[in-house]
Amino acid sequence: MSDMTADATTAAELPRTKTDWVPLALVPALALLALPFVGEPSTWVTLTVAGLAMGMMIFLMASGLTLVFGLMDIINFGHGVFISLGAYATLLVLGPLAGWAQADSVGLNLALLLLCILVAMAVTGVVGAVFERVIVRPVYGSHLKQILVTMGGLIVAEQAIHAIWGASPIPIPLPETLRGAFVLGDIVMERYRVVAVAVGLTVFVAMQLMLNRTRIGLLIRAGVENPEMVEALGYRIKRLFVSVFVAGSALAGLGGVMWAFYRQTLTAGMGMEVMVLVFIVIIIGGLGSVGGCFVGSILVALVANYVGFLAPKLALISNILVMALVLIWRPQGLFPVARR
């Protein structure tokens, strides 16, 4: 795609853009702030590490929606069903390769996970393409209709999951070596969370490169504001939108796999259950910002853990609290990209 190569040259003495570091400092600051309240350092480490990892998982589920909702401005309530679908897609792999999950080999277990991810991304990607074409395409630009249509798509897809895999929850095994935790003194670290951190970081870096080193991000934002003009500049905006939607769906599928193994039980509604959280994270991050979504996810998860430990009564509203505070500080979110 020649459309999307980066720009390198600009006349030398043009003003430079500045990076905003403040929100990044928020995470360590918060963690340090929590330390004296938590007291016991080992508990603090356990909580912090678990929170970071949970943040990564939330990020994985939200990353696709940052593209679709944040950048493309499509309110896709159906995102949740892609998460579920990705989760159920693991069954396609776990069925024939059940042995790999039981095997006491890190290599085999991770290979299984990778395979699940690839299959799930393929499945959700394809379904995403259909979803875009049939359901979303005709309602670009109208938020309300998007809400309704994607809600309809969500219901249909959930029912389809019921029809295919049945309505009962389905337990799935976490591969043998990923179960349990590392114990260092009083500190425990679930193994699976370490995997989640690795996957989360990989996706984050890949997305950052993709959006910052190419024009894709710019094109999407421009295309949302004035699709006619983008076409008049010679870009095939519809094709780009499909690709991005497919990418968003595939990322949701990936998030779904990670979430499925975390939950170890599949239900058709599992994706929908996290949607409010996902929307919150995207808003906190600032619409369209992958970095913001990443920081936001971690922030929400960390706060949830600290609050859950220190004042469980408040845990109910900790997400909303974080959102309110961030929006008071920065009404556009941490790193707003698209000003809408």
């Binding site: 909580l47 170890q264 600290y306 859950g308």
Partner: protein, 374 residues
């Protein structure tokens, strides 16, 4: 003239699976008890199934319709406790019997009860007594509870505490942890529970009272055994209990598990269910079956479907179920029944071979209080 029975269940929505079991169990029960004829005293039985979508208002409207428009003789339902509670006044207004199955809320046979209400399902207090009975009767036992932060969770903990004080005075609830209803990360809760339990003497147990997605693996993965803490996860439907498999040796109490009861009715149910649905019967299948049995037994005993006669017949009535005999207590019409103390198997043969029976807890070992202020 047909005997008309309405079966109301939350057939669509998140608890679809539960409702399916109830319906299957109910129909199989009628089949078994009428020896396949689906007729009683020469009258054909027709069942009208209605879906309340777990909505209380709809359940109420549907029950009104069943009594008024469909002219059913009695009704059975429903999946959600909220919906069942909303249905209670309708039975009273229409002067017809309602058998509650499988809703568990105590209030159904407690303060919101009226004399047209009978319940085959167990209530929350029975669950709590079961759980209490599965705890050793001697030695120091320290218990921490983990429950969801809403009425169901808090009532469950309160019920457990009072059950313990009745039948296990040696055990104390030393810590109560409540999480948001939709919580997914349990690290913080686990830490708090560990901190509370780890220095206690004697046996240390985390008792989980949960509706929906079970937090067991999350707690277990944090290795409570480091502190000598055990987990009592409580009984559940089979798919939910499959995750127990990875943690053999856990103990708790369960309402029904297909391999536990030994009686012809259950044998038939297990064999027939395996044949028809390629899986053993579950929690709510047994419940549906029991409701069918209650209805059939009552009609036979009353010699018809006149509501007043039915009530007279049912008060104190004992009837056979896959769990063995149950008895409607005269005071509050709650069916008293056994519970099972189980232990998770180390090496089951297949996905549903999960539990070993430790003990059957007879109904008279569980002195369930009467709460309906009759």
């Amino acid at each position: 003239q047909d005997i008309k029975i309405a079966l109301i269940a939350g057939k669509t929505g998140p608890l679809e699976a539960y409702a399916k079991q109830t319906e299957a169990g109910f129909m199989m029960g009628l089949e078994y008890l009428t020896k396949g004829s689906m007729a009683l005293n020469g009258r054909k039985i027709s069942v009208i199934v209605k879906d309340d979508q777990l909505k209380a208002d709809l359940a109420k409207t549907l029950l009104e319709q069943a009594y008024n428009d469909d002219k059913v003789d009695l009704a059975v339902g429903t999946t959600s406790s909220a919906a069942a509670l909303a249905m209670l006044p309708v039975a009273e207004e229409n002067g017809k019997v309602l058998i509650v199955e499988p809703a568990v809320a105590d209030a159904i046979t407690g303060e919101k009860w009226n004399r047209f209400i009978f319940r085959t399902a167990r209530n929350s207090t029975q669950d709590a007594y079961g759980a209490a009975a599965a705890i050793p009767a001697s030695g120091d036992v320290s218990i921490a509870t983990l429950a969801q932060d809403y009425a169901f969770g808090r009532d469950g903990v309160a019920a457990l505490k009072s059950a313990l004080s009745q039948i296990r005075p040696n055990a104390k609830v030393v810590f109560e942890e409540y999480t948001p209803q939709n919580a997914t990360d349990f690290t913080a809760s686990a830490q708090r529970i560990f901190d509370a339990l780890k220095d206690k003497p004697g046996k240390k147990i985390i008792n989980i009272i949960w509706a929906g997605q079970h937090p067991l693996p999350k707690i277990a993965d944090l290795k409570p055994e480091r502190f000598g803490i055990e987990i009592a996860p409580g009984g559940n439907i089979l798919p939910a209990m499959q995750i127990y498999k990875n943690y053999p040796g856990m103990e708790g109490a369960v309402y029904y598990y297909y391999a536990f009861p030994k009686n012809p009715m259950n044998d038939w149910l297990v064999a027939e269910h395996q044949k028809r649905y390629n899986s053993p019967p579950d929690f709510f299948t047994a419940g549906g079956f029991a409701a069918a049995s209650a209805a059939v037994t009552a009609i036979q005993k009353a010699g018809g479907t006149d509501p007043e006669k039915l009530i007279t017949a049912m008060e104190g009535m004992t009837f056979e179920t896959p769990k063995g005999p149950m008895t409607f207590r005269k005071e509050d019409h709650q069916a008293l029944q056994v519970m099972y103390h189980f232990k998770v198997k180390a090496d089951g043969k297949d996905a549903n071979d999960l539990l070993d029976l430790v003990d059957t807890i007879p109904a008279d070992k569980m002195p369930i209080p009467v709460r309906n202020k009759r």
